[in-house]
Every structure is written in C-alpha cells, then in structure tokens.
Symmetry: C2
Subunit: 400 residues, 2 copies
C-alpha cells in the first residue's frame, strides 16, 4: 500500500497505541519522531484558557530542533491546575529520555475532556509502547491518526507532492476535530510533516498563512477549544536548497501547504459532530475584510441557518437576518444573496426563484452561499456545516 500518511515525507516515524485512556479501548497515545531533528513551527489556540500541553509546547517550540511530538486523546489535560502542568512536562521528559534528547525538543498535545486529571499510568505505558512500535510505514501513520481521534467518525489526512528547486518534496498532514471548533484556530489538533528544507521563520510564516485561510475559516460551533494546536515539522531531507526567504520556492511551498490545510479543513467540516454536509459562505462587497469575515462567520455560525441547510431549505431570510445581526455596516437596498448560482435576493428585494432547484443545491454535500453587501470591495469566506439532531445526541449524551 502506498503511504499517504504523515510518515510519507522522508525522515519521520510514527506510532499510535491503545493505552487505556479512552473508555472505548481505542488508540489514544501517539508519537511522531524525527530522529534527525526537525525544524518546527506551530500555531496555538487564542482561547485565554489554555490546556497544560499548550502552555508547555508554546515554550518548547522555541527549540532549534524538535525531535518528537507526543500526543494523547481522551483527556485534554486542561483546567487541571499544577498537577496538569507537571503531567504535561513529564510526557515530554519521558519521550526525551527514550530518544536520549532534551525535553525541550519534544512538543506535547492533548485532546478530550476538560477538567479531569490525566491518567498518568496509562499515558506512561502508552508512550513506552508507542516508542517500541515506531515505524516509517503507512500503518504506523494510520495508527497515529487513530490515536488523535475523539468524536471524529473517520481519520482525516491529506498528502501533496511538489517539485521545489528541482527536488521532489512531500507534505503530509492529519487532523482531528469534530466539535468545539470556531475560528480563529479551528483545529483542535493538526500535525503536518514535510521533507522540504525550509528555515524556521519561513516555515512559521507558511504555516500561519495556511492555517489562516483554511482551518481558521472553519466554524462548527463558534467556540475555540482550549487545546487547539497546529504543528508543522520539516526534516529537510528532500535535498532542496533551504528556503530562507519569500522567493518563488517559498510561494510554491506555501501554496501547497495551504491547499493541504484546506483539504483537511473541509474533511473536518464534513466530519463535524452530527454534520451531514458542509457549506462555504462567501461575503463580497464589504467595506473592510474584517467586516466580511464577521458576516461570513455570523451566517456559518447561526443555528437557524445550519438547521435550514440540514433540512435542504433555501431559507435566505435567516441568512439575511444573521448578516443584519452581526453589527457590520449595511445598506439593505444594496444587499443581495445567492444560493449556489441562484439569486434569491437582490438589492433588498426577494427574487422569484425555483425553490426546488435551490433545495437541490443545498442537498449537495458541499455548496456555497454568497452574500454581496454591495457597499465596498472587501471579501472573505467561512466554512460551516449543518446542525443535526445527531449533534445534540452526541453532546447531550457525552457525559463528564
């Protein structure tokens, strides 16, 4: 089988094991290792409450080279006080000892329930077991993918190849996240590996840009989690001349990374808790980009819009209501709206349209809603998903 996981780029090993943190008994501890040491970049949650692993990784990301990322699912190690911080540090220490390196060269991430102490024994034996099973093959990458899942119904990964300076480079990524997702930093967890040689600064720049117009444009329930972390690791083994400035090679790399992250963002939207489809809200004609962003997000976040989309209902009134409610500059007489290519509202008045055709647009697994404010030239977009009774079931029955 071709390897299309995070172990596909040269220089990476991975593992995912069942450590007993999850009640389901599924994979819950994962490791990514770059034995040669990786250039690393990261983007973290902007929630003011951050989990212990986020606090620790924010420090460790300063290291010149990162040798491993240790992850657990089933427990967020968040709001767990000093013990939580100690436990996150120990996850790095244990991994560092196994790899014979400094704990500062290890990043840590956790995802799962908030406010419960990490079951330290499980995690410790999990990290040992993961270390024993580290491999560079497809199944090792797949196991890592499973180990970061929580309410995800399927693993989410993507891969891209690109010629950089005449050399074949590979970028691979995986992500988890199904609820508690709202810009900015709509990720929960996202890990990207590449063998492209690139400096730390330029990798950080490319990652921030890519996340900015992919995962940060996704909203499932409007709230950013306490644990959101996106990490990019570069082994530099593709053999290209190291990218150190904003040249053609950087632009090529950044474009591919953005494409990879957009792929992951759409997979997340489609696998959002209870979601049966996703949609893209495009807001044009705004006075400023910030206002376009705000309006797009308001529409994508509005439960009444999400319910209407679940019911295949071209209820544009709710879209207009969300735009009017979000506090941006508006002129009703200039406002227009399209569902797919069908204009449903133009310059403040309803347009007669074929509701069956519009309903068919919404029935698609992906569709676009376009709002034109008609008062400026700025635009932006947001990904959203429908809201189903399954979302309620998952989140009312998921007990602490």
């Amino acid at each position: 089988m071709n390897n299309n996981t995070i172990t596909a780029p040269k220089g990476f090993l991975a593992a995912g094991v069942k450590a007993g943190i999850k009640k389901s008994g599924k994979e819950d501890v994962g490791l990514i290792v770059c034995p040669s040491g990786a250039i690393a970049a990261a983007v973290f949650t902007t929630n003011k409450i951050t989990a212990a692993p986020v606090q620790i990784s924010r420090k460790h990301i300063e290291s010149r080279k990162i040798e491993a990322v240790v992850v657990n699912s089933g427990n967020a190690n968040c709001c767990t006080g000093k013990t939580g911080l100690k436990n996150a540090v120990e996850m790095c220490q244990q991994t560092a000892e196994l790899l014979e390196t400094n704990p500062h060269n290890v990043l840590v991430a956790s995802t799962g329930i908030i406010g419960h102490k990490l079951p330290v024994k499980c995690v410790k034996s999990g990290v040992n077991a993961a270390f024993e099973t580290l491999k560079a093959d497809h199944s090792a990458g797949e196991n890592f993918l499973k180990a970061i899942m929580t309410t995800d119904t399927k693993p989410k990964s993507a891969i891209r190849s690109v010629k950089i300076g005449g050399k074949n480079a590979v970028l691979a990524g995986c992500t988890k996240g199904a609820g508690m997702i709202g810009p900015n930093m709509a990720t929960t967890l996202c890990f990207i590996t590449t063998d492209t040689a690139i400096s730390k600064n330029m990798l950080q720049k490319a990652l921030a840009e890519a996340i900015g117009c992919s995962l940060n444009r996704l909203t499932v329930d409007g709230h950013q989690s306490t644990n959101d972390t996106a990490i990019a690791l570069s082994s530099g083994m593709a053999g290209n001349a190291t990218i150190t400035k904003t040249d053609a090679n950087f632009k090529k790399f950044a474009a591919v990374l953005t494409d990879l992250c957009s792929d992951l963002a759409k997979q997340m939207a489609l696998d959002a808790e209870g979601a049966t489809k996703m949609f893209t809200v495009i807001v044009k004609g705004a006075k400023t980009r910030e206002q376009a962003t705000k309006a797009a997000r308001a529409v994508a976040d509005y439960d009444l819009v999400k319910c209407a989309i679940h019911g295949n209902d071209p209820n544009w009134g709710r879209i207009i209501c969300a735009v009017g409610s979000c506090g941006i500059d508006l002129n009703l007489d200039k406002l227009s709206c399209k569902i797919g290519n069908i204009t449903v509202f133009r310059n403040g008045s309803p347009v007669k349209f074929d509701t069956k055709k519009a309903s068919n647009v919404i029935k698609n697994i992906q569709h676009t809603i376009e709002v034109n404010l008609g008062i400026g030239k700025a635009e932006d977009f947001c990904y959203g998903c429908d809201l189903s009774d399954e979302y309620i079931r998952i989140n009312a029955d998921y007990h602490t």
Copy 2:
C-alpha cells in the same frame, strides 16, 4: 373568569381572529385598541435589517397618542421591498379608518417567515373581523395572545397590580417568541398595557429599563430578529397623578414593570423552540459590566453548554471554555465556577464534587450557573435554555 390579560388594565379592548395567513388556520391577526388614546413607548430590534412594520412603527411611535396596535403572525413582512412598506402602511391606514383616526396613531407589528409578501387580502379581512370582535374581556385578550404566536407552544402573559399614589393600577403584558432570540432585544413581539397615568418620556424610560434587564438578557440562539418590537401603552385611567419624573411612584412603577417583563422573559426561555428547561448564567468578579455581560452571554449561547444541560451533565469544562473564548480579561488562577450552590472549579483548579447532586441541580426546570472571574467587582447575567433535538426538528422541517 378573572381577566389576567392585556385587557385587564382599564381602557383597553383587544381581539384576535383567524385570517388565513397561517397554514394551520389558527389565529393570526390581532388588535389592541385604546379608544381614549394611549401614551406609548417602544423598543425595537437593533438588527440592521428591519422589517417594514418596524420601520413604520418607529415613525408612528412619535405620535402624542396611540389608539391601536395592529399585528399579524405567520408572515414577518421583512425583506419584502417597497411592496412590504406599502403593505405595512396600509395595515395602519385600514385600522385608522375603522377607528376614525389618523394612521400615525396606529402601530403595526408582524412576525413569521421572512421574505414572503404579505397576503394582503387575508390581512384586510382579518383586520375587519378583529375590529368587529373587539372586547375588553378575558377571552378577547386570550384571542390576541393566540394571534401573535408562531412556533410558541403556549401563550405567554403576565399581570401585576400596584398602588400608585393611593390608586390601584394594573400592568399586563404578553409576548411571543421561541426562536431567533438574542440580546439585545430578545423579544420578537411584546405588548404591555397599563392604566397607570405616566408621561411619554417616563414610560419610555421605564420600558427601556425593564426590557434591558429582562428580555434583553435572554438568548435562545444568539441572533436578534428583524422584527423585534416591545410596545407599552398607558391609558392613564387608574386615576393616579401622572408620573412625570423619577420619583418614588416612578420607581415603584418601573420595578413592577421590570418584574412583569422578567416573568415574560422566563416564560419565553421555557417555551423556546425545543427547550425543556432554562438556566441563568451569573458572571461576577469581572473588570467591567460589559465584560460580565459578554461572558454570561457566551456561556448561555454556547451549543455545547446547552447540549450538556439538555443531558443533565455538569460539564463545567465547556462553561470555562466559553468564558475563555469570548475575548474578555481573564486570569485562570482566579477563575471559579458553581452549578447551583455546588462549587465545581475554584481558582483555576477542579474541585471534587458529587456529580449526581450537580446533575440533579441541572435536572430542575430552572437552575443557575455562576462564574466568578475574581479580577473585579462588576457582574451581569443572562438567561438561556437547553438545546434539544426538537430544536433541530422544528428548524430543519420549518420550510420556506
């Protein structure tokens, strides 16, 4: 039967009739008439997109005396262009002709689906029929109540008596609203009648205050509708010396009005689409009242909190996540949280608590969540309700 409806205060007649606007065939046109002319005050939606009746009533509220309010449900007359404005004006004209007064002395309100032209014939015959059946008794008030309902499962009304300057005064109110409800102006429609003699300015002041700490503190799905309107009418027939300044009588009147509106707000929360219970989020220890308001609303609006409450789950992690995500000043080490009287989180660390007892608190039809930010002295609150699969059913199946 004692009259506890909006026709209870002296000087008011009401009616509610079936005019064929609603597919269900239920009451959908209502009238309130004050033959002697009422002092009137109003608060309208802050959504930048406003329905035609809101635009018209905003002008007519300037009249010295208001003689009638004409209302329809089943159609919001919103985003209906110039025809919509004309139709709203005509509703006032027709009512004015029947009452032999000026159209400017008539207020108009509509609620229902957005973007559909008002079925003018139905409305016209409805207004005629309502005029024919105007009465001052309980059943007339009840019929009006029914005529303003949309997805409400029950009529919502409240009544209060108070001695003002030695005279018996009565305040009565009714409201409709079950979805598309978010501060500010969490009403959809609210009508208050009183026989207390009070000046227009002071009635406006009392209404704004009362709505500010009742209906404006309620969120069902975080968005304000395009049609929200609260109207207070005073016939002045209680015989008290007219309230014209902020004296003891005004304070008494304002307090009773606030109490009446809080009663209505709670009824709305409990009857919100799909809701099985309501809760109050109190945020204390904030740096400013604005920050307390923002945090309380963020918690009450967060779907994951609403789902947890539906499932009787004391999932305080989601509460903390919402507070961290809303952008206010925070210090995790000072943050505490209570569910009812049970402390679940103190100074940034989880507290061991009896989850069964906490779950029992949430099982109540009303409970309180308290968040103490511990960094200031400001506080505020917000009412919210749980999110159930019934909400999805109502809003995915409600087709345009």
